[in-house]
């Protein structure tokens, strides 16, 4: 991991990037009194603020918590929730829980793969669409479940999902702009009403 901006200390206003999103991270750091045990909580906030965790951000967190960068990197890569690279404009999450799998979720994934040429965890070359799979969204009664951007839709087939995605990508200006948020945040918003 390259250490590019080592002069991260003091409060958010002083941050060399001048990036206000660091303020959110700092607030969480303060709430937990810079305890090293709060690393996962801090990474949650960081990901929420930035959409993904880039190297600079990880180094910043490591310095603030006085942890070795390798420790922070180790934790960030251990958990599926944390994403180290940005996502496409739209995201499609296919639930691969047992109930969804039994009802044909694998067909949906291969359908998307065939049409758009991206596998789970990949983004189309034009950064328009990211495909992800989820362990279980806990909506097993509606299986198979797909989350397209913020909408949780149940009872899907490969054809209906591909159709929905095509419409989404072709839509006027492709709906609202997204700043490359990770899937998990999408999910979080989908379930938050």
């Amino acid at each position: 991991m390259a250490i590019t901006k080592p002069q991260a200390k003091g409060d958010a206003q002083d941050h060399p990037s001048g990036d206000n999103r660091y303020k959110m991270v700092d607030r969480t750091l303060q709430r937990f009194h810079y305890q090293q045990d709060a690393l996962i909580e801090v990474l949650h906030t960081a990901q929420e603020a930035f959409g993904f965790l880039d190297d600079d951000l990880l180094v910043y967190v490591a310095r603030q918590l006085r942890l070795p960068p390798s420790w922070v990197y180790g934790v960030a890569t251990f958990y599926h929730f944390f994403s180290l690279k940005p996502n496409g404009e739209h995201t499609c999450v296919v639930c691969m829980g047992t109930a969804c799998y039994v009802k044909g979720a694998a067909d949906i994934v291969s359908g998307i793969q065939k049409t758009f040429g991206i596998g789970p965890g990949e983004t189309t070359p034009d950064d328009k669409l990211s495909l992800a799979t989820a362990r279980c969204l806990g909506s097993c009664g509606l299986a198979p479940v797909v989350v397209v951007d913020d909408d949780v839709v149940g009872g899907q087939t490969a054809a209906s999902t591909v159709e929905r995605l095509k419409r989404l990508l072709a839509g006027p200006n492709g709906a609202e702009q997204k700043d490359g948020r990770p899937d998990e945040v999408e999910l979080q918003e989908a379930e938050t009403v």
Partner: protein
Amino acid sequence: MNLIELQTMAEAETEKQQVFRCRLLCCASTPCLSSGATEVINTFKQAIKVGKLDAEVQVVSTGCMGPCSRGPLVKVQVKGEEEVVYEKVTPAFAREILESHVVGGKPVGKQVLSLDMPFFSKQTRVVLSNSGEVDPERLEDYVARGGYGALAHTLTEMTPEEVCQEITKSGLRGRGGAGFPTGLKWEMVRKEPVGRKFVVANGDEGDPGAYMDRTLMESDPHRVLEGMAIAGYAVGAEQGYIYVRGEYPVAARRLQRAIRTAERRGFLGTRVLDSGFNFRIDIRMGAGAFVCGEETALMASIMGRRGQPVPRPPYPAQKGLWASPTLLNNVETFGNIAPIISQGSDWYAGIGTEKSKGTKLFALAGNVENTGLVEVPMGITLREIVFDIGGGIPNGLAFKAAQTGGPSGGCIPSEHLDTPVDYDSLRALGSIMGSGGLIVMDEKSCMVDVAKFFMEFCMDESCGKCVPCRVGTVQMHRILEKVTQGSATDLDLKNLEDLCRLVAETSLCGLGQTAPNPVLSTLRYFRDEYEAHIKDRVCPAGVCHITETPLRALV
């Protein structure tokens, strides 16, 4: 807040609810929300405002009512009449309910769920007794139904020792899957020398197809908090943590709100209910790692580290969080505590079988008519769950297997459908009770494919710390892939069985030790399917694409 104030609060709330002529309970748990419950609730609220019915009709957003596939669900309670549950309610239908049932007094004759149907009548609701009846975001609703009475009782009438004894006498066993006697665990932590101790609720429900804990946390958060506070008093802990799975933001938000209200009203925090007992609860969000359901890994994760397990002993009861004695129970286990205290251990021990007491939540899903969350007494047969409560298999297909315990469990074939559901019977069948996922599969499911699915899951989720699990799951998955593609030989099958035994016996934690279970149980009951793939090169269920040919064996 003391005992008398608690009673006054309960009475005041009950009185307030009595004022309304009609209450509309709308399910607002995740499955119903995804099917459009928010619009239904808003429609009701708006129509009531327009019709100036505010004084006589109350709209309540409740927790889960059970039959999730039929959501959004609305329960209409008119004073002096029997309650009616409507299924698949749309905003338009909501207006119809309001006009004809609430105002006109004539129930709408369609989309009614009969409360006599086996789905409801065969259930025994202990943990879920409030779910679908109270607004999870209102403390008063919970108190009106007797909430926090058990905590008040323990703090004023019982010693910590007595609480542990009561739990031991009830016969409650851990609901996380392994079934360790809860009272014994509490006793172990209580007996540790006085000092810093912790209580942890495990809400990291990683099994795909299981959502009992989420529903409980979403539908009745105070029940979990009360159970934890009682546990804190019993073992001498002043700090509790709830570890919530990262995928459950609604549950985390509702718990957070519940903690704040409970602290403000004196049910948690310093001097709980005017006693000398202090208890704080904090939430820790998981970040998507199945292995964190394992207790030592979960504690590592609470401490902000990689969620990798460590060998036991020392057990968490001796050395857990920050090397202090830690009581770790499943969320559902904590949900059982308040009823045991308030209704007595004898009452609780009267439910269930000799060795497995009480009730168990199951998330019924897969190829079954009624999917959803059910709570059944231990000892009920699988047949009753699948065919009576679940309503059988749709589309006239035949039942093939029921999968319990997720990636650590196994598949139970139709000839064992009459087995009573309890810890020991399921273990004898090569499966486990698990946390409560119950997936029903019909004849169109290929069992080799299902085993491969679970192995892929374990392979992905293996934390990588110990070799048997890290390497063994990859190898087993590779062999299963060969079987489903048609390139496996008899030798592969033998290797697979050897590997299963090796991984089960030598892995560090529960994930690896139980990872071979789905393979072993399908090999035990559906060996013919494996052989059909290998010898006849066909998939009997028509799921797998047999495209490859076996490599010639080197002799």
